[in-house]
């Protein structure tokens, strides 16, 4: 039964990811006095791309044509181990939060290789920048996550969330630090302003877009979908780790519906906040990103230390 729920939840995750990015775009348009596209626009884009025949550069190898599938399935796998509407998720035992970070690394590895495959300068530029930024973001993310896992003394995401739920509303300084660290990392990793700008194709600034310039058709659709999934994954991680209230702890129909509503609400608010932040903040120079990320790392470290010094019961 709960394996079935796990499969359904994963499919829900995959299906709702484009909607979330549509909502984000909608909020941004509203804030910037533009007319917003329909909330279904990302789905239409994906369907259009899937229908088209992909054009592939002559010198591209199998890495280029297989990478979209690898990246997409790594993200789907990541989605399958993050509790969305219920914590009673058997799949979380097969891959804990460190493996989750590993899935992200897996997808990124192939994305960067695909960027280098055709041999264009843009691809190399994107890969180089992406690997630099991610290598700074990964330790910050693990620091934030370790704070949680040490509090709950488990790296299993579902059990950790359950632990936070059972503790009740306790204000933990370590969680505040970790929350901010994870938010900063999420912004960097999903390529949002101020680290990267998903809406631009300006040579000097692009990171993620530079790697996928050569993609078209269904390959592009898969990569776009995967990055929408990644945005949603980070959103769900932030929402359900730090504010898990509302998530279903038992498998009743009512609890599941409440869980769905709760996560939808949380994600909507988070994305609205992200839209406001993206509207207010300008993109930074590439070589300011390390300061930004080391600040995130510092926050993570502070969270960890305050957990060890203030909270650990010894």
């Amino acid at each position: 039964m709960n394996w079935l729920i796990a499969v359904i939840q994963t499919m829900l995750f995959v299906a709702l990811a484009p909607l979330l990015s549509a909502w984000l775009k909608w909020c941004k348009c509203l804030l910037q006095n533009r007319k917003a596209p329909s909330l279904l626009q990302p789905y239409r884009d994906l369907i259009k791309l899937i229908r088209k025949q992909p054009a592939v550069a002559e010198q591209a190898s199998w890495i280029f044509t297989r990478s979209p599938y690898i990246i997409f399935s790594a993200m789907v796998l990541a989605a399958s181990v993050v509790p969305l509407i219920t914590v009673d998720l058997p799949t979380t035992a097969s891959a804990d939060v460190i493996v989750l970070v590993g899935f992200f690394a897996f997808a990124r590895f192939f994305l960067a290789l695909a960027g280098l495959d055709v041999g264009t300068a843009f691809g190399g530029m994107g890969s180089s920048r992406e690997m630099t930024i991610s290598s700074l973001a990964e330790p910050a993310m693990l620091m934030a996550v370790f704070t949680l896992t040490m509090t709950a003394s488990t790296t299993n995401l579902a059990l950790a969330m359950e632990h936070v739920l059972n503790e009740g509303m306790v204000l933990r300084p370590s969680f505040v630090f970790a929350l901010f660290a994870l938010i900063l990392v999420a912004i960097a990793e999903t390529g949002r302003i101020p680290v990267d700008n998903p809406a631009t194709h300006l040579e000097l600034t692009m990171i993620h877009e530079a790697m996928i310039l050569e993609y078209s058709g269904r390959h592009l659709a898969l990569i776009e979908w995967a990055s929408q999934l990644k945005l949603m994954l980070y959103g769900v991680l932030i929402a359900n780790i730090f504010l898990p209230w509302g998530i279903a702890q038992a498998l009743g129909a009512k609890a599941l519906v409440y869980g769905l509503l709760a996560i939808a609400l949380k994600l909507a608010v988070l994305c609205a906040l992200l839209a406001i932040a993206e509207t207010l903040v300008a993109k930074m120079r590439l070589f300011r990103v390390q300061e930004y990320l080391s600040f995130a790392y510092l926050l993570g470290l502070l969270g960890m230390l305050s957990h060890i010094i203030l909270e650990a019961s010894r």
């Binding site: 592939v56 493996v99 190399g124 630099t132 620091m143 299993n156 470290l301």
Partner: protein, 709 residues
């Protein structure tokens, strides 16, 4: 019986070395065979021998294959001996009356030795498959096979004997055999002055390290009666003497293992040896040093102190970070791999440090977890580093260069090699489903157990080390994206790589295939190795993993199922399902199923040339700028202003040199000090015989006076 297997492995590797010496004995052998065929005309064998195998043209390649076959058999025997002793969980001891009459060689073969026998066996077996094809290209005049084969055999035998040794004397004899034989292998291509310099540096540091190990054993032995390890185990040392012994052992074994800052010989020596030797040195010899440290600290020094663990933790963290940051900046493929070995050894030391801290604080089960993670990482590193070094050898064999900036586009030209190399890159970048990830995961799990400790300093230090480990892993991924992307993807950057072809020798490819297969196998079924390692932890620490069911084939849950679990097989199945569904579903329309091959879009610029691609230094430029303080960077951009106007640049020359901080900070002062000391000593050397006689006379008087006291 098991010991006989182990001895046979040693003897076969020696035999392989000796057989290589027959390279120049062909006339004698031929005469011998002819004599025998005259004596026993009914034996076809001898005639066939003289007409077929000993024929002038065929003899060298026959001999090479024979030597490598012996080496391969030695590898197989080492694997079976190691597996046998680990599966039966016995401790075998023996004495051999070789060496000095009152000092027999003590042998001991237990689980720990068996595990490293397994590592060496796998490496030697693959190298012996790879070797014949690789050395074929060596010309007999410039790069004779006889010394190469002889010292390879000695080297392997030395490593195996180190693992068997059960007394300090014999340990040092075997250790020196290993060091000196590998010196000759590093110096093998000695026409190049840089190689001679690297080899000398290696010999120097190996000997300093060996001295330090001898002193370490000496400290132990002065509290014990005798030099056998059994006697040393009984020694009761005060904390300060034990710490001195530990420091000496750490210096000695650390020098061999290549931890920062005593790693400088490693990136010089490993790349200049032939590739299969580099694979053995990086993949296996460093592990022998790790073995020595484990044997010395966890077995001989009965009680460990947490301060030692902190030292190991800090050194390990420094090595891991330093190694990978230096590796990132290299454009020589084998040098890069050598620096990455420094990183991996750093990870092993870091986890060993954790194990020591937990052991000293009274948590032997968690110490077992750390020891297990360290041993598993040593095993995994041996697999993927061998794969990468052998792969680099294939690339070098085909395009005659090791400079990454000369490569590119090889995935089209060498499809098999490139696929196998990708497996190695993914393993070393610790991506899930591959073996490197499992040991990394276990290392994190060990670090996350820090909450059991009482000491506040440790509780805040260990998470920082864990974060450094995370940074290391991420940088390693960046490094190997660079390697794979620049070597195999993109457009060829030189004519040699444009003309490159897949290697034809089956043995070379088979060696890579075996290693890549093992990397994947142990990534999916890590419990196969962990089940072998658990009894070793029990032998050394008295405790095994906390979770008895940690080694089920499906789950990996070292502490408890609730704390952490990883089921690689489930992950593999689901990823295959997800990718399969996406693949089938998206390609169901027959009209769009095939891809249209066109020119690269490249934002509409067109006219792609290889020179437009990112180079090695361009790829790592952001990292170079962010961590600028880590290296000594000499970057020069010379503009040639011969154009028409002032702003017209005719050409730009870019020069980049990156140096290790250790040289000017640590080594040059030592060199200066030794030189000035030598100059001072030189003053009493007048060259006048009467003065020297005077010295002798004074010495004699002083000695007599001392004796009469």
């Amino acid at each position: 019986m098991v010991l006989i297997l182990a001895y046979a492995a040693v003897l076969l590797s020696l035999a392989s070395g000796l057989s290589a010496l027959m390279m120049h004995q062909r006339p004698a052998l031929e005469a011998l065979a002819q004599a025998y065929s005259r004596l026993f005309p009914e034996h076809r064998f001898f005639r066939r021998l003289s007409t077929h195998y000993l024929e002038q043209n065929r003899y060298p390649s026959t001999l090479r294959q024979g030597a490598f076959a012996l080496l391969g058999m030695s590898g197989v025997l080492a694997i079976s001996a190691g597996l046998a002793v680990m599966l039966t969980q016995q401790v075998l001891t023996d004495q051999i009356g070789l060496g000095l009459p009152w000092l027999p060689w003590h042998m001991r073969f237990d689980g720990l030795s068996g595990f490293f026998f397994l590592i060496i066996g796998i490496a030697v077996l693959t190298v012996s498959l790879y070797g014949p094809g690789y050395v074929e290209a060596f010309s007999e005049d410039k790069q004779p096979f006889a010394p190469l084969g002889l010292f390879t055999g000695l080297f392997v035998a030395g490593m195996l004997l180190v693992l068997l040794a059960d007394d300090a004397f014999f340990f040092m004899i075997a250790w020196e055999a290993m060091s000196v034989a590998s010196y000759f292998l590093v110096a093998f291509q000695h026409e190049n002055p840089a190689n001679r310099r690297a080899a000398f540096l290696y010999l120097l540091m190996a000997e300093v390290g060996a001295l330090s190990i001898v002193l370490g054993f000496g400290v132990l032995a002065s509290f014990a009666d005798g030099f056998t390890f059994d006697a040393l185990r009984q020694a009761h040392l005060s904390t300060s003497w034990a710490s001195i012994a530990f420091a000496l052992a750490l210096l000695g074994f650390g020098m061999k293992a290549g931890i920062v800052p005593i790693h400088v010989w490693l990136p010089e020596a490993h790349p200049v040896a032939p590739s299969h030797i580099s694979a053995l040195m990086s993949g296996v010899m460093l592990k022998v040093a790790v073995y020595g440290l484990i044997r010395f600290c966890f077995d001989l020094l009965v009680e460990v102190h947490w301060q030692w663990g902190v030292v190991l933790l800090i050194l390990g963290t420094l090595s891991a970070l330093g190694g990978i940051l230096y590796a990132l900046m290299q454009s020589n493929l084998k040098r890069l791999l050598a620096y990455s070995s420094v990183e991996n050894i750093g990870v092993i030391f870091l986890v060993l440090g954790l194990a020591m801290i937990f052991m000293a604080n009274g948590y032997p089960q968690l110490a077992a977890l750390g020891l297990l993670a360290a041993l598993l990482h040593a095993f995994n590193h041996a697999l993927f580093k061998n794969l990468l070094f052998l792969g680099a050898g294939v690339v070098q064999h085909q395009i005659h260069s090791l400079d990454i900036d000369d490569m590119g586009g090889l995935i089209k030209r060498m499809p098999k090699t490139s696929f196998l190399f990708l497996v190695g890159c993914m393993s070393i970048s610790s991506l899930p489903l591959f073996n490197g990830f499992v040991s990394e995961w276990l290392a994190f799990q060990t670090a996350l157990q820090v909450f059991v400790l009482d000491n506040g300093v440790l509780r805040s230090l260990i998470p920082v080390a864990a974060a450094a480990l995370a940074l290391t892993a991420a940088l390693a991924a960046a490094c190997f994206v660079k390697v794979y992307g620049l070597v195999f993807l993109g457009l060829p950057r030189s004519r040699n790589s444009e003309k490159a072809k897949e290697v034809e020798d089956k043995g070379m490819l088979l060696a890579l295939e075996i290693l890549a297969g093992l990397c994947f196998l142990f990534g999916i079924f890590p419990s196969l190795v962990i089940a072998l390692l658990n009894p070793i932890a029990r032998q050394l620490l008295g405790q095994a993993l906390p979770n008895a069911e940690a080694t089920s084939w499906l789950w990996l849950a070292p502490v408890t199922m609730d704390q952490a679990s990883y089921a690689p097989i489930l992950v593999l199945i689901s990823v295959l399902m997800a990718a399969g569904i996406a693949f089938r579903y998206l390609r169901r329309n027959p009209e769009t199923k095939t891809m249209r091959r066109t020119e690269a879009w490249d934002c509409g610029f067109g006219g792609l040339t290889p020179r437009m691609q990112y180079s090695s230094s361009a790829f790592t430029m952001p990292i170079r700028r962010i961590f600028a303080k880590v290296w000594l960077i000499d970057e020069q951009i010379n503009k040639d202003m011969r154009g028409a106007s002032e702003l017209d640049v005719a050409s730009i020359h870019y020069h980049l040199q990156i140096q290790d901080h250790c040289w000017p900070r640590l080594y040059q002062p030592i060199v200066h000090a030794i030189n000035s000391l030598a100059r001072q000593v030189g003053r009493i050397q007048t060259g006048n015989i009467r003065v020297y006689l005077g010295y002798s006379f004074v010495t004699l008087i002083v000695m007599l006076w001392v004796v009469s006291l």
